[in-house]
């Protein structure tokens, strides 16, 4: 089977595509073209790394536990319903 040549992609297109599909394992023709572009474009690859860093910062952030007093208050308010 003949395969079509991979089209060149522009940085703006890469940014949009990467933003929407950052954590999805895609293997389409377009996705392969994007991956190829990322290997050769320092700006796009830096943007991608930075974006992953941002997500990681928010994901790793510690969230405080519910204070016991708030838990008690919630259960008390429910039992009065």
């Amino acid at each position: 089977m003949k395969t079509k040549p991979v089209n060149k992609v522009r940085c703006t297109e890469v940014a949009k595509y990467v933003c929407e599909n950052l954590d999805e394992q895609l293997n389409s023709r377009k996705c392969r073209a994007i991956k190829k572009h990322l290997l050769t474009c320092p700006k796009c690859s830096k943007d991608l790394i930075d974006m992953k860093k941002v997500i990681s910062l928010y994901r790793k952030e510690l969230v405080p536990h519910i204070p016991k007093a708030i838990q008690k208050r919630l259960l008390a308010s429910i039992s009065h319903k």
Partner: protein
């Protein structure tokens, strides 16, 4: 799906069914199961312990009131997230109205709105997280940077970013929770990611 997961869903459906019939113990068990999920999500959205506690309370009051409307077509957790996100949006709207009628100089910050309990005790007095002094400095600095950036995001984008990137829901699930199209989720996510990357650029280059 594993046998345990199937059993878990069955147990949950039974709990919801019992709670709908007025079983108080079943409702309390549902609250126990999901209180951390709701509090954690609310905290990530409003970046403030008092507001997260208020959202937690409001959410379960709404769940209690609307439980008979839950038809079991969606997952209970999806329905619950719909209520929490709705509360976050409502709170944001209420705060905007209050701010515009009181002052135009008070931007949303983690320290605002010092709510009082019914007995007059500041709610803040109930909320404390213990850290070492060194951790405290690093955590406070980083937290402030992250707070400032995410609080500048429009609520619609903030909710999508937290659901998708922070909590790891799929685009389809986020769309169901927010009652918007998957395309809208992706577009909001793209804008949120670009905005946050720009906001935190300086911090990442240090």
């Amino acid at each position: 799906m594993t046998k345990e997961q199937t059993q878990d869903i069955d147990n949950e459906s039974e709990l919801v069914h019992k709670a709908q019939k007025g079983d108080q113990r079943a409702f309390s068990l549902l609250v126990k199961k999901y209180e951390s999920t709701v509090y954690s999500f609310a905290y990530k959205v409003c970046r403030n312990e008092e507001k997260a506690a208020e959202t937690l309370q409001d959410t379960f009051v709404n769940v209690y009131r609307k439980l008979d409307q839950f038809d079991g077509k969606a997952k209970f957790s999806t329905w619950l997230y719909q209520i929490v996100t709705n509360n976050c949006l409502m709170k944001r709207r209420r705060n905007k109205i209050e701010r515009s009628s009181v002052s135009i100089e008070s931007p949303e910050s983690p320290q605002e709105d010092s709510a009082l309990q019914g007995d007059g005790t500041p709610l803040q007095a109930l909320l404390s997280v213990k850290h070492t002094p060194q951790d405290e400095v690093v955590n406070t600095e980083l937290r402030e940077i992250l707070d400032n950036a995410i609080l500048k995001l429009p609520m619609e984008q903030r909710l999508v970013f937290i659901l998708r990137d922070v909590e790891g829901h799929s685009s389809e699930e986020a769309a169901k929770i927010l009652k918007v199209s998957v395309t809208a989720v992706k577009s909001r996510l793209r804008r949120a990611r670009v905005f946050l990357r720009e906001q935190l650029q300086e911090y990442m280059e240090v």
